[in-house]
Point group: C2
Chain length 314, copies 2
């Protein structure tokens, strides 16, 4: 399949590399890593085995790529106002747009710009960081759930799931994309938020009994909000305990929002906090701890945080 990767941070580079290794015609829209990848290719340092792609099709503008069958969007969500500029040149008559971005609101924004019919969403449970330019580090996990945004039927989701599985990625088509998004938020809201705010890793948090309890309390707020959204099946409260246990295996993992803060980037607060809070508030679900965490993260962002061009991971 002819594929464009827009937002070639850790997630975009990792899945793009696997898709290329799996035999697809992958085109990467690059920025920070452009020079390094042109010169020496792309190296993936991964738990199941490192590999290196000597020849990678990298570009500085989408116009050089032109229309593709699939656009895979991995942008930081605070760059969503650039969807038009970055994605429009890649869209042909039957182009699918799959966003693997965090949080809520990304499918809606893509649909508003390119039409709901084109849009699919995916939820990636991936632990990966960028290394030096030209290197991406896969630290663990990587499963993806893919689902349609508005279109009926599972055919395209099944096709994309097969595409990822063919590249060695555990992937299922999901009938209820919104449920998958909220499941990931149950993890993202406490761990991204608390790690970024407190400057702690996942292991740091889980080793402190009071912080561990707080993670669980926040997860229960998110589960309650999720279950007010008319999902096809309710999330069980036991998901909180299971996610905390799973997270112990992550060790000193630094969630993406902690890395964003450490590297002086804007945080993905609208997608991961403000929209889920608004969705809960709409249905009368109280989320005092989540709201407080959001307020504290927002209060420690630079005043007048502008989306500086050099903050984009493309």
């Amino acid at each position: 399949m002819r594929i464009a990767i827009v937002g070639a941070g850790a997630l975009g580079l990792y899945y793009g590399a696997l898709l290329q290794r799996g035999g697809n015609d992958v085109h990467f829209l690059l920025r920070r890593d452009y020079q390094a990848i042109r010169e020496k290719g792309l190296r993936v340092e991964s738990v199941p085995g490192d590999f290196h792609l000597a020849r990678v099709q990298g570009y500085l503008s989408s116009a050089e790529i032109g229309p593709v069958e699939l656009v895979l969007v991995g942008l930081k969500t605070f760059a969503n106002h650039r969807y038009g500029e970055l994605i429009a040149p890649l869209v042909g008559a039957d182009t699918m747009i799959l966003t693997l971005q965090n949080g809520l609101g990304n499918e809606e924004a893509l649909a508003a710009r390119f039409g709901a019919e084109r849009v699919l969403g995916g939820v990636a449970f991936l632990c990966a960081n960028r290394g030096e330019p030209g290197v991406v580090r896969h630290l663990g996990a990587g499963r993806i759930l893919v689902g349609e945004f508005r279109r009926q039927g599972m055919a395209r989701a099944e096709l994309l799931a097969e595409l990822f599985r063919g590249a060695g990625v555990e992937c299922q088509a999901a009938a209820d994309l919104l449920k998958a998004r909220w499941e990931k938020l149950v993890w993202n809201i406490p761990f991204n938020g608390l790690c970024a705010l407190l400057g702690l890793t996942v292991a740091d948090l889980l080793h402190r009994p009071v912080a561990r309890s707080l993670v669980g309390e926040i997860m229960l707020e998110v589960i309650a909000a999720a279950n007010s959204q008319g999902l096809s099946e309710a999330l069980d409260n036991s998901l909180a305990g299971r996610m905390i246990e799973f997270s112990e295996g992550l060790g000193a993992y630094r969630p993406s929002m902690l890395i964003d803060r450490e590297e002086g980037r804007e945080l993905e607060l609208a997608a991961i906090f403000a929209r889920p809070l608004a969705a809960g508030a709409c249905k009368g679900v109280a989320m005092p701890r989540t709201a407080m965490l959001h307020a504290m993260l927002e209060s420690t962002e630079p005043i007048d945080a502008a989306v500086a061009a050099d903050q984009l991971p493309t």
Copy 2:
């Protein structure tokens, strides 16, 4: 009056200096400032006018001071386990012990060690920092409310209020010490906690609308907890708004807990957070934001925080 100051941080040095200037026989138990004060006295840089005490009675041990009429306690509360060692040599038959420390539990600990009859408590609304050794900076306010801990009658509280007024300190005897303590907690819990956790000044917090709202929400939790404690008169919810307005006048003030964190000292979490939370929980008052703030402050303290001897402000 023959007075000993135990815990000569900003608060102890400031009030001690005023009491000495007012004609009292004041003895300072010193540590960090001992050498500087012996050599060049004590300088107070104060809004209403700087002054300098050329001759100050400073000591490194309480035994050198011996019994006094009044012990004024200004220790950081995490040093309360040293009450015996620091205060016992100062106590004679009729010695009064007045704690001006923050939070809850100090009078109880003094009463357990020295008898409830001796103990009075004071709530100081003071903005002061230490400067270089031998210098204390008074940034604003300074009013004290003094009350008995368990003893009936107002005679001693009136006597001490007169003592402070004679030294130029606005001071009233309070019939309900517990009410005064909770009033101060309404300010201390949000401002000390959020400023220390987020590394922000009072002005930083108040300039961010979301943080300003959060301050108010936390204040309402503390007011609800206060009003469950059987105070002589309930605190009105409007206290929150009035305290926030008052705090705008403080500008870029750095609350003591922010300074403690910046200087690597232990935080006064038991007195300012854990005991008020327990008092509220005892009466069934939910304080989710206060509890979350406490959890986050505790989670960012060094593991195995020990009271290192050099952390004491004496």
